[in-house]
């Protein structure tokens, strides 16, 4: 009897531990990811019901011309050109649409100062396929990011 109670308690403890550590399907995208060139790391987090990603690390954080931290100098909005690249939110407004895909969001390319529609597909727990496109998903560019 006492042994059964002990087993039940252990099972209960194990179940509660598993339930608190399991990440939901849609939240699996959260974390720090590195782009394929190795020049930047982006942290994806959730605000409200949507997913966003901001630059948290740059291989070359300093502007060689100004010797100051790099800023978003190519932004088409002059008021935002002084914003620092480190900390810049480049993934915006993604929603989970199922089957390891996050859509309806945008990706901002600070090198060109352009924003593209974007689709994120999780290939496996450590690999993301990031597809930026204009209008339709068929015409665009895909990059592979790895979890850090």
């Amino acid at each position: 009897m006492r042994r059964n109670i002990l087993i039940a308690l252990v099972a209960l403890f194990t179940m509660s531990f598993v339930s608190t550590t399991t990440v939901s399907e849609e939240d699996r995208v959260m974390g720090v990811w590195m782009e394929s060139t190795g020049k930047a790391k982006v942290k994806i987090s959730k605000i409200g019901s949507k997913y966003f990603g901001k630059i948290v690390w740059l291989k070359e954080p300093t502007d060689p011309e100004t010797k100051l931290p790099k800023t978003d100098k190519n932004n088409p909005n002059a008021e935002l050109q002084g914003v620092k690249l480190k900390g810049l939110r480049i993934f915006k407004d993604f929603v989970y649409t199922g089957d390891g895909v996050w859509e309806k969001g945008t990706i901002y390319d600070s090198r060109k100062g352009k924003t593209y529609d974007c689709k994120i597909t999780m290939i496996d727990d450590n690999t993301l396929e990031i597809r930026g496109f204009i209008g339709i998903s068929l015409i665009g560019r895909t990059d592979t990011w790895t979890r850090q």
């Binding site: 605000i47 630059i55 690390w57 909005n77 900390g87 810049l88 915006k92 407004d93 309806k104």
Partner: protein
């Protein structure tokens, strides 16, 4: 010929009176949101964020939300009232996020240089950011981004004060 001219004048006058009686009278009112406190924890060097979701009706108090025709941000003040003040950060930004999928995150204010020793900073408001549609939702999320100079072990409290300019429909 003269009769046609008079008819034309009468028609124009009638249209003018008709259009003016249909146009919506608006007035601009200022709405100040109660200061929001945001607690930053697990702070690392670089960009950190904290968000708070506010009920729009409660946030705007006496304002009749159904009569909002247009809205812009008048001012945003970010402050930290302790001895360190804002010395640990070098950039602050404020974004708004709506509830529906159609309402994307919009940047409304960014800081310039943060002066050493200052305890508060008024953000530069981005021109032409129309936010009325965000205020017509039940809830709106305020996102404060702070760029830290280095990691911080102690949680930090920041206060955000926002004033809106609301263009209100006066038609009853």
């Amino acid at each position: 010929m003269k009769i046609n001219f008079v008819k034309g004048l009468l028609l124009a006058a009638t249209l003018g009176v008709g259009l003016s009686s249909c146009s919506v009278a608006t007035k601009t009112v200022e709405a100040e949101v109660a200061t929001q406190t945001l607690l930053f924890e697990d702070i690392y060097e670089g960009g950190n964020e904290k968000s708070i979701t506010l009920n729009v009706a409660e946030m705007l108090g006496d304002v009749d939300i159904t009569k909002i025709e247009g809205a812009t941000i008048q001012s945003i003040l970010v402050s930290k009232k302790d001895s360190l003040g804002l010395s640990e950060i070098n950039e602050a930004k404020v974004q708004l996020l709506g509830e529906s999928e159609d309402l994307t995150m919009v940047t409304v204010g960014v800081s310039g240089e943060i002066k050493e020793g200052s305890q508060e900073i008024e953000l530069s408001i981005l021109d032409e950011v129309e936010i009325a549609k965000y205020l017509k939702e039940e809830n709106v999320t305020l996102v404060l981004d702070l760029t830290y100079i280095k990691d911080q072990e102690v949680p930090q409290n920041y206060e955000v004060g926002i004033k809106f300019d609301l263009e209100m429909n006066e038609q009853k």
